[in-house]
């Protein structure tokens, strides 16, 4: 039982840190604020969640301590991270940040023009 849980902890930790690394790499590599937001809001969410889950499993199986605060933390991140991503991209669009020049379609510009008229 302890061996299985140890392996689970290791897998979750490595997976979470790998995802966070990919999120950071995506922030450097992707061209504009919206595509960067994709990497940040998805990979960072799951990365932090699995690191927290590994911490929870460690304290539960190895130390025998049930930490409900970590579970609450997972739930809060799960709810708030997509909202934060949405708000950042919305604020960027409304303050006039351009899409990447290779973007092919922009339905939102019609709405903006309507509003200005």
């Amino acid at each position: 039982m302890t061996v299985i849980s140890e392996w689970l902890i290791v897998i979750f930790l490595l997976f979470g840190s790998f995802l966070s690394l990919v999120a950071a790499f995506g922030l450097i590599r992707l061209p504009d604020v919206y595509t960067r937001n994709h990497a940040a809001s998805k990979s960072a969410t799951l990365g932090v969640m699995s690191i927290l889950l590994a911490a929870f499993l460690y304290f539960y199986f190895i130390e025998g301590h049930f930490s409900s605060r970590i579970l609450l933390g997972i739930a809060f991140i799960f709810i708030t991270a997509p909202v934060a991503g949405h708000l950042i991209s919305r604020a960027a669009y409304n303050s006039g940040v351009k899409l990447w020049e290779k973007s092919v379609r922009d339905d939102l510009q019609y709405k903006k023009k309507e509003r200005e008229h």
Binding site: R29, L30, A39, K42, P82
Partner: protein, 158 residues
């Protein structure tokens, strides 16, 4: 919905008083018996038997986690492939959902879906503007969002 849950709690407490045993086990047994009673009396309620809705909520949560993992694999592929062959863009999605919390839930689901991110919601709550990281198959993604997420949310709120 809320009335049925309250009634179920009341029946469980009634069972505890009948048994004169105030433990969580007795409460649980009473709750199960109350569930059976409410299921038997379901045609006297104006709304559906509430366990349907509990099941729908659990299904929606599972869908949330599945989409989150798929989205991460997707981002992984885009970021780690050597050539940046993506065509980003913003497309509009008409939604049939009405109340505010349904639209919030749909926007959250879309943000955690592979390759899509909600940028703006129109003022009349009818249209969501979604930034897609690879817009080649817009029609497909609209279809899949409509078929899976909207349906699952409606199943909860109906």
């Amino acid at each position: 919905m809320a009335f049925q849950i309250l009634l179920n709690f009341f029946l469980a407490f009634l069972w505890m008083f009948l048994q004169v045993s105030f433990t969580s086990t007795t409460f649980f047994v009473g709750y199960l018996i109350g569930l059976i009673v409410i299921y038997g009396m379901r045609r006297f309620f104006s709304t559906r038997f509430y366990m349907h809705r509990v099941y729908a909520v659990i299904y929606l949560t599972m869908l949330f986690f599945k989409e989150l993992i798929m989205a991460n694999i997707d981002v992984l592929k885009v970021v780690l492939q050597p050539k940046l062959a993506i065509k980003p863009g913003i497309f509009a999605l008409e939604t049939e959902l009405e109340s505010d919390w349904e639209i919030t839930l749909l926007a959250n689901l879309i943000t955690l879906t592979p390759g899509t991110l909600v940028v703006d919601v129109s003022d009349d709550n009818k249209t969501l503007y979604i930034h897609a990281i690879d817009i080649a198959d817009v029609q497909d993604s609209i279809e899949s969002i409509k078929n899976t997420f909207e349906k699952a949310i409606m199943e909860v709120s109906r």
